[in-house]
Symmetry: C2
Subunit: 220 residues, 2 copies
């Protein structure tokens, strides 16, 4: 018998470092990832570095062009819509699964998450709080859904989403609308009405998608 200690290897660590750097815009869309330069800065050789790059390419985060280099993909309007279409059905599945298998602990966490933000005024200075609350609500649901593969897929989808999330919440009056919809979803989940929860979540996400479809002309 043997305890499976964490798989400590460089490629996994580098993968996460690069993913986070792209997420945090330390490497922006269209920018090149120089192997020699960045791997040296991190302090590893190119071999595990390139393994990480290849996984990122598989997830559609970067594009590797032979003998030219690895580039962070630009999010075109079409790509954003594609991601949001997928997000709609996957988030719907998440909430359906949660409704079918709800623990008191999860219910409490969701409730608290919404209650914490509900009295915050919808002002520009507070927008980051709404963004965090929004992300936390969806993340709590994801953590509670008992489908590991779905969690993995959503992790990738969320990377793509990160590029537009701030822009979608930042609309006058949108923050309060989001919270109202979250409460409705939570009610359905609490009643274990999986179909209703899924339908509400899909409409919630779809409204974000429709906004993006109309307003985002070209993402930089």
């Amino acid at each position: 018998m043997r305890i499976n200690i964490e798989n400590i290897n460089l490629r996994d660590q580098i993968y996460e470092i690069l993913r986070d750097m792209i997420l945090q815009r330390e490497i922006g869309p269209g920018e090149k990832i120089g192997e020699e330069e960045l791997s040296k800065k991190i302090g590893v050789s190119r071999t595990p570095f390139r393994e990480a790059l290849y996984r990122l390419e598989g997830e559609g985060i970067i594009e590797i062009i032979a003998r030219r280099g690895a580039f962070v993909r630009r999010q075109s309007r079409a790509t954003i819509i594609e991601v949001l279409e997928i997000r709609e059905v996957l988030e719907g599945l998440v909430v359906r699964l949660v409704a079918l298998n709800l623990s008191d602990k999860t219910l409490g966490q969701l409730q608290k998450c919404l209650d914490n933000i509900k009295d915050t005024p919808d002002e520009p200075s507070q927008l980051i709080k709404f963004t965090h609350a929004d992300e936390e609500f969806h993340q709590l649901l994801l953590d509670a859904c008992q489908n590991q593969m779905l969690k993995n897929l959503m992790a990738t989808v969320n990377i793509h989403l990160q590029f537009i999330r701030l822009r979608t919440v930042v609309i006058p009056g949108r923050a309060k609308k989001t919270i109202r919809e979250h409460y409705e979803i939570l009610d359905a989940v609490a009643q274990k009405d999986a179909s209703k929860a899924e339908a509400l979540m899909r409409r919630h996400i779809a409204s974000v998608r429709e906004y993006a479809t109309e307003h985002i002309e070209n993402m930089e």
Copy 2:
């Protein structure tokens, strides 16, 4: 200006070779993929070989254990259900998108696909034909949906499905039921009733999932 010739590099080729080998059961579940041995047999060094392995791990196809090796993942009952839950909503999205954007060519191909098989007797000796027709129907829909990211996700999902597809169709009377359901879906698509098409597809996939839930005790 520069024409983007196919990205000819070894890691992409090796990735496809390994994926197909696993798909065709040339390397079975639980089996080890020896780097030295197999890369030598293919005729490449371990470097691009390992890059391919790392992408496969990211897709959940294999598991890499540090200093032990890469192993084809066994499909547990829980994993199969996870995949089928995801497949249900993604296939639903596929058919919704196709209904919203249907070309005459696609409609013709789908029609022909079903007509070709509809008079085949539902006998054990013919089962492989039903399997092929089933795969072709779903693949035609996927090809026609205009969401590249969805195509990529479904490609991965389909690898996982490959392990159980034959077992799900092989039920007395199931083949004819499948064709009937496919015709109903096609009708909804032809009428451009996206919601109906999606709902029918989801029910269709869900019935496969329910069968798997009940009957598959432990996949080898």
